[in-house]
C-alpha cells in the first residue's frame, strides 16, 4: 500500500489496497443481498458478528443496520458463548469466511447502491447488544441505540480534536466486538466518513508497527496498557503516531511518560464501561485526574459511583470506586469489591465462584483478588474443596466453562476454608491462608 492512494473518500486499508466509500457502499449492498436477504421466510432479526477482520466487521455491521437487524457482540469466542447467543434465538451468524468473498471484490456494483450517511439509521433503533458478567452467573445484555453510539463518538472526536487532523487513519489492537474497539474503530469512521481504518487487529509490537507503516500518517493507535508495555520493551522504530488512545485499564504516569518518549507521541486515555461506552478522558502526563465528557455528570452515594447521562437523565451504576474533586474531575480509587477486570473483560467474583461450585465433585470454593500492582493484570486466586480431585483437574474442567483470562492463579485444592463463626470468608483471612499454604508447599518440596 502507499499513501498516494488515500484520499478524503477512503474508508479502509484492506489487505493490499485502499477501499473508498463507493466500494464500501457496494460491499454493504452485496452483503445485504447475498447474505442478509437470502432467507425467504422468517428472516433472522439478529446478527452475531464474529468477524475478526475489522473491515469485514464494518461491512457486516453496516449492512445489518440497514436491514433493520440488531448486531450481537459476543464477549468472547468460546463455544459456550456462541451456543448461548445462538440458542433459541432468531440469529444469523456472520464470520470472516462468509463475507470475505464480497469484501475482496474490487469492482463497484451499481445495483441498489445506497450512499451511506448517519441519517439512514433511526436514532432510536437498537443496533447492537453486548454482554457483561452478572453476579448470578448469567450475562447481562446491554443494548445500544444508534443515537447513543453516534453521540458517544462525537464527544470523543471533539475532546481529542480530531477535526484538526486531516485524513486520519486508525490502527486498533482491540477487537471490534469490545465496546472500546467498537466505538473507536467502527462507529467513528461511520460517523466521520473519511476516517480510514486498518483492517487488521495487530497484536505484537512488530505487528503494530507493520500496520502503522501500512497506513498513511497521521495515524491514531487505539490500544491498551498491556500492548503499550510490550511496545516499549525493546527497540522498535516508532513513527507517524499522531496520538495513542488507550483504554481497558489506567496507564501509570511512569508507563505513559515512557510511551510518550519512546513512541514519540501523546498518550491519551478513555475511561468507560460496556453499559455506557466512553465516559471520561485524560492525558496522565499532563493531569492525573479524569475529565468527564460533556454528556455526563457524576455522583457518589454511599461510596457507590453513579453516572448520569444528562440528555436522557438515565443513571448507571459504575463498577469502580471514585472520588470527585473540586474542579469537577475525578480520581479512580479502586474497583467495587466483587468486580474484576482483566484484558478489558469484566467479571464478578461471585459468578466465578458459582462456576467452580457448579463443577461435579466440587463441594465448596472461593475466588478472591490478590493485591493489585500498577500496570499488572488483576490477579485472582481460588481455594477449592473437591475430595479426590487435583487442582489440575479442577483447572482443566474450569477452562472449558470460563474465559481463560479469569482462570484463578493460583488455584489450590484444600480440605477446608477459613470460615468465621458467622459463616463469612474475610479477604484478610483468605490471603493469610493462601500465604501459609504457599510456605507449606515450598518447604515440602
Amino acid at each position: 500500500m502507499n499513501s498516494a492512494q488515500i484520499s478524503q473518500k477512503s474508508i479502509a486499508w484492506y489487505i493490499d489496497h485502499v477501499i473508498d466509500q463507493s466500494l464500501f457502499e457496494s460491499h454493504v449492498a452485496q452483503t445485504r443481498i447475498n447474505l442478509l436477504q437470502v432467507h425467504a421466510t422468517k428472516r433472522p432479526t439478529r446478527v452475531l458478528n464474529l468477524c475478526e477482520n475489522r473491515y469485514h466487521f464494518l461491512v457486516a455491521f453496516t449492512a445489518s443496520m440497514l436491514e433493520g437487524r440488531m448486531t450481537m457482540l459476543p464477549a468472547n469466542r468460546s463455544e459456550g458463548e456462541i451456543t448461548r447467543l445462538t440458542n433459541n434465538q432468531n440469529v444469523q451468524l456472520i464470520n470472516d469466511s462468509l463475507i470475505k468473498g464480497i469484501c475482496q471484490t474490487v469492482e463497484v456494483s451499481s445495483s441498489e447502491l445506497v450512499k451511506w450517511n448517519i441519517g439512514l439509521v433511526p436514532t432510536d433503533m437498537i443496533v447492537a447488544e453486548l454482554y457483561t458478567s452478572g453476579s448470578t452467573g448469567l450475562p447481562i445484555a446491554h443494548q445500544k441505540t444508534w443515537g447513543q453510539l453516534v453521540s458517544g463518538v462525537q464527544q470523543v472526536y471533539k475532546r481529542f480534536h480530531f477535526e484538526r487532523i486531516a485524513r486520519l487513519s486508525i490502527v486498533a489492537t482491540v477487537p471490534p466486538q469490545h465496546m472500546f474497539g467498537f466505538e473507536m474503530s467502527i462507529i467513528l469512521p461511520l460517523v466521520y466518513y473519511g476516517i480510514c481504518i486498518h483492517h487488521d487487529q495487530p497484536f505484537y509490537p512488530l505487528d503494530i508497527q507493520r500496520a502503522i507503516n501500512e497506513v498513511s500518517a497521521p495515524c491514531i493507535l487505539v490500544t491498551t496498557p498491556t500492548h503499550l508495555k510490550a511496545c516499549i520493551t525493546q527497540e522498535y522504530n516508532w513513527k507517524n503516531i499522531e496520538q495513542i488512545i488507550s483504554a481497558t485499564s489506567p496507564l501509570s504516569e511512569e508507563l505513559a511518560s515512557q510511551v510518550e518518549s519512546i513512541m514519540r507521541t501523546k498518550a491519551k486515555e478513555i475511561y468507560g464501561c460496556s453499559e455506557v461506552g466512553a465516559i471520561a478522558t485524560r492525558r496522565v502526563t499532563k493531569k492525573t485526574t479524569w475529565s468527564l465528557l460533556h454528556d455526563f455528570s457524576l455522583s457518589v452515594i454511599n461510596e457507590d459511583a453513579w453516572l448520569n447521562t444528562v440528555a436522557t437523565n438515565k443513571k448507571t451504576s459504575l463498577p469502580d470506586k471514585l472520588e470527585i474533586l473540586s474542579d469537577g474531575t475525578f480520581r479512580l480509587i479502586g474497583r467495587a469489591t466483587d468486580m474484576v477486570k482483566i484484558g478489558g473483560k469484566r467479571g464478578s467474583l461471585a459468578e466465578l465462584t458459582a462456576h467452580i461450585k457448579s463443577l461435579e465433585g466440587v463441594e465448596d470454593a472461593v475466588v478472591f483478588k490478590l493485591d493489585y500492582q500498577a500496570n499488572q493484570r488483576e490477579r485472582l486466586a481460588a481455594l477449592v474443596i473437591a475430595p479426590g480431585f487435583s487442582s489440575r483437574q479442577v483447572r482443566d474442567a474450569l477452562t472449558k466453562i470460563i474465559d481463560s483470562v479469569f482462570l484463578p492463579r493460583p488455584l489450590y485444592t484444600v480440605e477446608d476454608l477459613p470460615y468465621t463463626s458467622s459463616g463469612k470468608l474475610p479477604i484478610a483471612d483468605l490471603l493469610t491462608y493462601l500465604k501459609d499454604h504457599k510456605k507449606e508447599a515450598e518447604t515440602s518440596c
Binding site: F203, Y204, T233, Q234, R377, S390, S391, Y412
Partner: protein
Amino acid sequence: MIVNLRRSFNIKMSNLTDLESELGELLITNLNLEDIKLEDIDSEVALFNEGLGLDSIDALELGMLLSTKYGIKLQSDDPDFARIFSSLRTLAVYVESNRTS
C-alpha cells in the same frame, strides 16, 4: 490442612531438555503459575487454554520475555505462529533456531 493432590496426580520424572526447563521456569516465574511445578510440566502440554491455561495477555507477556531474554521479536502473521506456541517443545525449538542473544 491443605493437600496438593497435583503431586499425586501426575507424577512423572522431568522429560525436559535444558532449554525446555529454562523456558518452563521462565513461564512459571513470570506468568504467575506458582501453583504449577516444573516437574509436572510435560514438554507436549499445550501452553494456552487447556494445558497451562495461558491467555492472550500471557501471549504478550511471553513475547516480551522472549524479546528481553533471547532477542526474539514475535510476529503473529508468522505462518508457523500457532505451532510455535502449541507446546513447550515447539517453543524451545523456535527459540533455539531464532535466538539472537
